[in-house]
Symmetry: C2
Subunit: 230 residues, 2 copies
């Protein structure tokens, strides 16, 4: 199946790209610059992997996001909180309906490009407190994409049965160089090691039993707390 | 209910704005510049009516559309066909998943702005050959918007039981000045009078028994053919 892969340059979506390339005919990668603090760190990673695999990549600039949407994840928002993801912290980094917006654009592009599927790296550890990560959203959005296009574009979620540690194990098999992926929401020179997404990254490698090649600013003991993907 | 209204500056969505203002608390208007040949004609009309009603309007520039999507409706596409809408003609003017993209952005904005509903001027005469005008798409997209937001944003389609002539009659009651609305896909100085959307506009006034205030380049007899809204 001809597919378009959404790839941010994070560890999940980079793995999804390598995996999709094994399973499908990947005709393009879409990456989104939506004005987050870490877009400039992650997007060059997405480009690196697309080019390494010889897949055309388009970076879509969503200039409207900082004007229309509010989130601490954005340049226009407040500081990124440290520590384990917990609902109050996490809610500050929600970009409202971000998955809906990216999937809608991907559906239109897939239709124009003659593709039949769109891959998103949604996984079992996605926080259901993000409404647009919930199963009910994904089911409905998949139906909308199928009903709203001539080609009946399929929303593909190959990792929905995997947690983040399982994704790392799969990526290691597929030869993904995780040193060239980005997670940290702060978007500084190196991963901070202590924000919610860095904590999840560190935990995933630890639980997968795969050596973590990431350079962190600091690596205090991982906080106890909800495990992202159990 | 606090609502955001999608308004292009066309006759249906301008009427929807006036109607929503009677039925709801309209907290904002969203207009989209997606690179069509007629955006520069219609968007000033949307702005005129929003300002006349004292409702804040945001124009969203979708710079990526001409790069990612293909359609004769776009500046990057071929010529707009003349004559009554018929499937082969009409397909050339489809912008893939346009409604999906606009509704997704509107859902995110509504969530950020504290609104609970998004109004779209979908009506019974919408061409079901456009996949993203189909009932199955609208139902699924509405579910996705509701499931994918904390506020459970509602997709509102107040005109879904009306045809275009009924919308004109309603707008006349609401005092809409249709001289300040735009339909023609060609986007020239005046409405051409002969493209598919001009033909529908002329028919709607005729069937509504409302005087058409539009200046057309030409007004040959309306072609016989499928009536858009029967």
């Amino acid at each position: 199946m001809k597919t378009i892969v959404l790839c941010s340059g994070g560890m999940d979506s980079v793995t999804a790209l390598y995996h999709a390339r094994r399973e499908h005919e990947v005709t393009g990668v879409l990456a989104f610059h939506y004005g987050s603090k870490h877009n400039d760190r992650e997007l060059p990673r997405a480009r690196h992997h697309a080019e390494a695999l010889g897949v055309p990549i388009k970076t879509v600039r969503l200039g409207f996001v900082n004007d229309l949407l509010e989130s601490h994840l954005l340049e226009s928002g407040g500081d990124i909180p440290d520590g384990h993801y917990a609902e109050p912290n996490l809610k500050q980094t929600v970009v409202p309906f971000r998955n809906g917006i990216m999937l809608a654009i991907a559906a239109g592009h897939a239709e124009s490009a003659g593709a039949e599927g769109v891959v998103i790296a949604a996984h079992s550890g996605d926080h259901t407190v993000y409404p647009d990560c919930r199963e009910s959203f994904m089911q409905a959005m998949g139906q909308a994409m199928e009903a709203g296009t001539y080609a009946g574009i399929h929303l593909l979620r190959p990792f929905i049965g995997l947690d983040k540690a399982a994704i790392v194990r799969l990526g290691a098999e597929l030869g993904v160089d995780y040193a060239r992926t980005w997670s940290c929401y702060k978007g500084r020179e190196r991963h901070c090691g202590v924000c919610g997404t860095c904590v999840e990254r560190r935990e995933a490698f630890q639980r997968a039993g795969v050596t973590d090649p990431t350079e962190y600013e600091q690596t205090p003991d991982l906080p106890s707390g909800p495990v992202s993907s159990s």
